[in-house]
Symmetry: none
Subunit: 305 residues, 2 copies
DNA sequence: ATAATTTAGTTGACTCAGTCAACTGAATTA
DNA sequence: TAATTCAGTTGACTGAGTCAACTAAATTAT
């Protein structure tokens, strides 16, 4: 999966959507408002009591320009502005009844344009469009509240995801080669092929329907649980997800009466290492190797239960 | 979700995306081009020989305004325009080398902005965004021609993708269980671990930066090439991609002097089966099994080279 | 407590992106 | 052959948006 091809596709969409929005915004053609006017009025209407600075920041407008627009709106009695008692420099802006009427009219026009576009579509298509829009927005909007991650058992495809994400991450971040993906695929395949639901488990952390982390416990025999394939995606690091996953493993291993958890890692994986330390694992052996290209120290850690 | 709720959600997305595009278009801030300039230059660059009327229609620009922009571009030697011999009123516009350089620079800036946005996202997220964009575009743009798929060698992560996509597809479509994912992971892992670049290869079909198909050739010894893990994603079926992939395998196996290609499949996979028939494979054995849950007939096919 | 700096918002002065109407000359239709 | 349409250009304009300089309140530094 090529990043640059993804970017090209995104650019292509942006060109298309620039045009598309251009067409939609003709809704305002026979009103006395420009697109910017409409955006401002809309923003005030839906955030009553907003200040000019916030408004300018949210809509990415020049303060001077915004000031003039607000002045005009005030002159036309679409909005009212009174000084904020807690900070006399700034003002509290709200729409008048007349302004609200205009704002609703603009809304109706805009809705009508979209309704027209949706008109010719098949039954489920508008729904598909809107859920695709939601996907994009959730992922691109930094202000969209980031959903909490949920942790669940693995489902079909998840093991493949583990292979893919680890291979991609460790080749990108540490320059490991193809052999690493081979190893992960092997470990993952063996886990599935010998899967014992009584004594083994695979946890997947998921956010907005997208996998962001994993770990699994495999039976190593002799009362030893092997903790394997701990991984947290770049986008979800720093949230304590790794620790949560390891805690999950420890709880499971205890409940299943394992006497020890053991794991194999590389010293370069600092974040993982610090989780192991925090959860009480101890390093019992270390060895140089070049299994994946660059020289690393592989380490074995254990936790007695 | 009711119609009006859908429309509201679409409007909300449009407001968000208007802002978002505004931010992206800052890429042009420190160039001598406006957004409109960039759009025009881009359109000419990618449709060499386009006429001014088409250009104005595609970009929804006023002909007078466009005329002035083109005049300026001509003065700056970014484009050339010669009269269309079949209609002396209209002109054939094309970019000069200098114009192409500018156009590519603008492209780089725009790509960089998007890359920056994609930077902090999780592995699958840019992919989700782009496929959501494709959904929207396909449904809203009646002229959208789906991009052609390209076929390339595998890269890190692709083997994991193969495991994931096949596991997901076959559990969804045929109700196969986890053992299938285990088998695929195993085959894929072995392929990577014993990979012989001289005699083995893995092809990935990609569209809009999204993987949509795969196949691989592994050395089975004795002059026999094993064709494995042929797969075409639901979204890209019916385009002949499967056949293209198999043809690629046959060409490769011939060039590498294999004497035979053999493969293992299940009779329920009708599309694959018809490709094998078409490309000259013959069925040599068939056997009932319940390896993945439902009862299937597994089949071995061979093609002598 | 006072001075220096920052912040919210406004105003003057400007420019250039974009619009509208009227035109030229070639192509098409009546 | 005349009337109409079409591709593209030019004149004349306007108003959306920008930049710098300002006022006055609030905050921070001394």
């Amino acid at each position: 999966m090529s990043d640059s091809a993804l970017i090209e596709a995104a650019r292509d969409f942006n060109r298309f959507y620039t045009n598309f929005l251009g067409v939609l915004n003709r809704a305002y053609l026979d009103t006395p408002f420009t697109l910017t006017d409409a955006r401002v009025l809309f923003e005030i209407g839906s955030h009553d009591g907003i200040g000019a600075v916030t408004l300018a920041r949210d809509l990415q407008l020049d303060p001077a320009y915004l000031s003039r627009i607000l002045k005009r709106f005030r002159a036309e009695a679409l909005i009212e502005a009174k000084p904020d008692p807690s900070d006399l420099r700034s003002q509290i802006i709200s729409v008048t009844d007349q302004g609200r009427a205009q704002f609703q009219d603009l809304g109706r026009r805009s809705s009508a344009q979209i309704a027209e576009r949706f008109e010719g579509l098949a039954l489920g298509e508008p729904h598909s469009i809107v859920s695709a829009m939601t996907t994009i927005r959730t992922l691109l909007d930094p202000n969209a509240a980031s959903a909490p991650a949920i942790i669940r058992a693995h489902r079909p495809g998840d093991i493949g995801w583990i292979v893919q994400s680890q291979a991609k991450a460790y080749t990108d971040e540490y320059g490991w080669d193809m052999r690493f993906e081979g190893l992960v695929a092997d470990v993952a395949g063996k886990f599935l092929n010998n899967f014992d639901p009584q004594l083994e488990y695979c946890w997947i952390a998921e956010r907005n329907g997208i996998n962001v982390g994993s770990v699994l416990i495999a039976n190593g025999g002799d009362g030893v649980a092997k903790l394997r394939l701990l991984y947290v995606d770049k986008a979800a690091r720093g949230l304590g997800l790794g620790k949560t996953l390891v805690d999950e493993c420890i709880r499971f291993a205890s409940a299943k009466k394992y006497r020890q958890i053991s794991l194999w890692t590389n010293d370069i994986l600092h974040a993982a290492r610090s989780i192991y330390v925090k959860t009480g694992f101890r390093l019992i052996s270390e060895e140089k190797h070049c299994m994946f290209g660059p020289q690393e120290n592989c380490q074995t850690w254990v936790l007695d239960l």
